[in-house]
Symmetry: C2
Subunit: 326 residues, 2 copies
């Protein structure tokens, strides 16, 4: 009967689909890295087990740049600042009133880097303050939907790490709460973290600029001021976690020395703990860098991982794919 | 048959119990306040309705002192600091090395108040820094379990507002996420907010002292330093909400002018919004104070509530009971 044949055909299609959906971490090669992750998640979610952790305590923290998406040749937020500078200068040539802003508007990364911390701060301040949080979010949303990476010509959201998206899914499916804990600006990240990673704004921790409440023409708003209120990097990452979450994570993922302190603090808690470092070994599919890199340097943390037995994920060995299919 | 009689008896018992459990806000008198709350919650949770709000956006923010528990004659955190000063001075008489610390150790509130901001800061610093967050939390936990209010001789957790506990329950039952947004110290509050209110640490926003990550004898810890990093009051409350939650609340509850800005900001968002002020009218069952009080002054916010149509909860008129039964 044709209905039987149809049912059989559907079954044939449905089975592998079902099997695929049920299999976690499909973009991870079978091997020690994948096994270590799966074993840890199984251990802390097995109610009768010695390592069981109640769902409320299943806090996972992820660095963003270089851990959940790429970060070369420079942090993407800096590329946003450069693109934004070009836009603002195009709309009003008087905007680029200093050498640093002129360089930014011209897309001259080297000149900004040569100008050091002061030049960088000037560009970030000029593009990240003087508007409401809502207006800034709208600007970043427009940018992330359209801007393309200078080297790959990909949308930035096409440079997320597919295996890490699957890791987030697997953790959520097991009642973990994943947070981002990044040196990136919190307002910048929140413009896309929910769509990109499924991580809602309240689970995004980052650097923060000065801000103030004001009633402007009868409208209560939060204004982004010049000035840095908090830089979320290295030793301030555990401080930010303690302040925002008030619990010590049981799972921590990073990729650089900026994540060392939060890995140390998280893994020093009692009970089962897991730390993972993404090692950028793949110059073919992504970028290869570690101990000598200016962006995302992985040096002391790589030594610590060896000493502490943290998982070092080798992108070449452990990942079938790096970025999502377009 | 005895089984029938037993079943009938059980049914008689079960019915009123079931009815009680199903009835929200049992300690609120029937009337406009209770009706306004129930109507708002019904409106934003009715999927086909014009005012439907998705669960993720059902953010509710609550002030703590004077809104969820009492705050007279002074904030309970200050009474903790005084009790702690007495303990520290008893253990080491050299500890009370300044007039302010001596006054604190002697329980002389007036002397501290007379010493103004500097004396207060000195007492808070001496009792709230120089230890790990974990050690401080343990100290507060011990205190909250045993210390008693000087006027009522009640445990402080016996001075929570029963009607507000029921409001929190009703909101949670309707997929709201309630946060505390308080001038109180975040580490102080988190020692009891989960047990007292069912509000987990990540949903507690407050004032923060300076803090740093350090490895002490091989143990990675967060140390509480002297110095104030953030005071969460008045105009900084909406800033703290924007930074921590990244969403504009749809429900806001406070009791003083310190909550005015967060009420203004929350209610100015699009769609349905609800603001509530607890008015301390009940000198019999609690404390009566408003426009002239040094603690929990309710003056500009009371005028704003009238102008904006926010709910003013009159403790005498609206609450059957103030504190929980002991």
């Amino acid at each position: 009967m044709w209905t039987t044949r149809l049912a059989a055909a559907l079954w044939t299609v449905a089975l592998p689909l079902g099997a695929w959906a049920a299999e976690p971490l499909p973009s991870w090669h079978d091997g020690p890295a994948k096994t270590a992750i799966l074993d840890f998640v199984a251990a802390v979610t097995t109610e009768a087990g010695a390592d069981f952790v109640p769902p409320d305590e299943r806090i996972a923290v992820f660095d963003n740049d270089g851990t959940l998406w790429s970060e070369q040749p420079v942090y993407f937020q800096f590329l946003f600042a450069m693109d934004r500078a070009a836009e603002l200068a195009a709309a009003d040539p008087a905007w680029a009133s200093t050498p640093a802003l002129e360089a930014a508007a011209a897309g001259d990364v080297e000149a900004i880097v040569a100008g050091g911390h002061d030049a960088l701060l000037e560009v970030v301040t000029a593009t990240h303050s003087g508007m409401t949080v809502a207006a800034f979010t709208a600007t970043v949303s427009d940018w992330i939907a359209t801007a393309r990476h200078p080297a790959t010509d990909r949308l930035y959201t096409d440079m997320l790490f597919q295996p890490m998206l699957e890791l987030l899914d697997h953790l959520r499916a097991n009642d973990f709460t994943p947070y981002i804990v990044s040196g990136g600006g919190v307002d910048f990240m929140r413009a896309f973290t929910e769509d990109a990673y499924g991580i809602p704004p309240e689970q995004v921790i980052g650097s923060m600029g000065d801000a103030r409440f004001e009633i402007v023409d009868g409208d209560p708003v939060i204004l982004k001021d010049p000035g840095i209120a908090f830089i979320d990097d290295k030793g301030t990452k555990p401080v930010a976690i303690a302040r925002h979450i008030g619990r010590r994570p049981i799972f921590v993922a990073g990729n650089s020395d900026g994540d060392l302190a939060m890995a140390q603090w998280s893994t020093a808690g009692e009970g089962p703990r897991f730390a993972l470092l993404v090692h950028h070994t793949d110059g073919e599919r992504e970028f290869a860098y570690d101990r000598e890199s200016h962006v995302g340097r992985l040096d002391a943390a790589l030594d610590a991982a060896a000493a502490e037995g943290w998982l070092v994920v080798d992108m070449v060995r452990d990942w079938k794919r790096v970025w999502p299919a377009r």
